[in-house]
């Protein structure tokens, strides 16, 4: 049983074994490539990074990344190259710029709108509550209602001292 548990806990470790079919000769460079490829969206499979995808396109992108790294390109240069060809949607982490600004600002704008709405709603309500003064008749009526709570609150008032048994299941 304990053995099974250990095996189950180790599963995530084994699951890494399936990544990246062909590997660069240099394991350090391969690690660097995989780390960079984790930030690149596989355009064929959409929700998967290029680092774990087995699609043909991702294989190609990884091969190109290796080639460029061998040729001495920096990570930034490689990312720029990909963005130049495939657009910003290859980046899992979209940059903050003119085009993506509405997206980044949307939560704050919505929060602001909601806050303003709430503020005005509360202000309006407070105005209504404060400005209302009861007439003398109303005040008397309220007082009389408040003085006999059971009659006012319950539709079917329970007469005091009748049997004394209540429905315990209620």
């Amino acid at each position: 049983m304990r053995f099974l548990l250990i095996l189950a806990l180790l599963l995530p470790v084994f699951s890494f074994a399936g990544e990246a079919k062909d590997i660069a000769d240099d394991p350090v460079m391969e690690m660097r490539m995989i780390r960079l490829a984790e930030k690149v969206r596989c355009l064929v499979c959409q929700s998967e990074p290029v680092s774990t995808s087995h699609s043909d396109w991702s294989n190609d992108v990884r091969a190109i990344m290796r080639d460029k790294m061998k040729a001495g390109a920096t990570d930034q240069q490689i990312m720029d190259l990909l963005v130049e060809r495939f657009g910003k949607s290859v980046l899992f982490d979209p940059p903050v710029d003119k085009e993506t600004m509405p997206l980044w600002m949307a939560p704050f704008i919505l929060l602001l709108l909601g806050g303003l709405g709430l503020f005005y709603q509360l202000k309006k309500r407070r105005g209504v509550v404060v400005d209302t003064t009861l007439s003398v008749q109303d005040e008397q009526r309220a007082a009389s209602l408040l003085n006999e709570p059971s009659a006012a609150l319950n539709d079917a008032p329970e007469p005091v001292g009748q049997g004394g048994k209540k429905d315990t299941q209620a």
């Binding site: 355009l43 064929v44 959409q46 043909d56 396109w57 190609d60 190109i64 963005v83 130049e84 060809r85 495939f86 657009g87 910003k88 949607s89």
Partner: protein, 174 residues
């Protein structure tokens, strides 16, 4: 009266969600639109001794159609391209993407060849420069060699009639 605002918000949200429902998330806008078509020099499919470079097409509006013998959707668009080539409206250059030369040639010999010429991008390097990630893809390139439009997915009678041909006609006037 007090329900009007929530109702309007609901309607606006519904419209957005409904529109989002119909969108193909695979269609990402190409950053190459509006930029010069990347230069290359590749051998032709039928005759490897002859080369082709996009600058040979300067002064013409043309279509670059990326296809492959292994690509299923390319078979769907093939008859439409055949029809288009018979009409002689716009030259179509085919780019055989990541294919075996013999397979590519056999496909065209069997099904018909809608292309004015076909280039062989056997290792897919030129396809990468053009941002190809799924075949078929079709580029509309203007007289100055600028990419004006990129279609991801097959050419259909509808997108040909509504988008590609009007654009070609417009670019021809320039």
């Amino acid at each position: 009266m007090r329900f009007i605002l929530p109702f309007v918000i609901f309607l606006v949200l519904s419209v957005f969600l409904y529109k989002g429902l119909g969108r193909d998330t695979r269609e990402v806008p190409s950053p190459l639109v509006g930029k010069p078509a990347p230069a290359f020099m590749l051998p032709q499919l039928h005759d490897a001794t002859r080369q082709f470079a996009p600058k040979e097409m300067l002064g013409k509006v043309w279509l670059l159609n990326v296809w492959a013998s292994w690509c299923g959707a390319c078979k769907d668009e093939h008859p439409i391209l055949m029809e288009l080539s018979h009409q002689n409206i716009v030259p179509i250059v085919g780019l055989d993407y990541k294919d075996k030369r013999l397979d590519g040639e056999a496909t065209l010999n069997n099904a018909g060849d809608p292309y004015n010429l076909v280039i062989a991008d056997l290792d897919g390097k030129v396809g990468f420069d053009y941002g190809v990630y799924g075949v078929p893809e079709t580029y509309v390139i203007d007289k100055k060699g600028i990419i004006k439009f990129k279609l991801i997915g097959p050419v259909t009678p509808q997108n040909l009639r509504e988008t590609i041909l009007p654009m070609v006609a417009e670019l021809e006037k320039q």
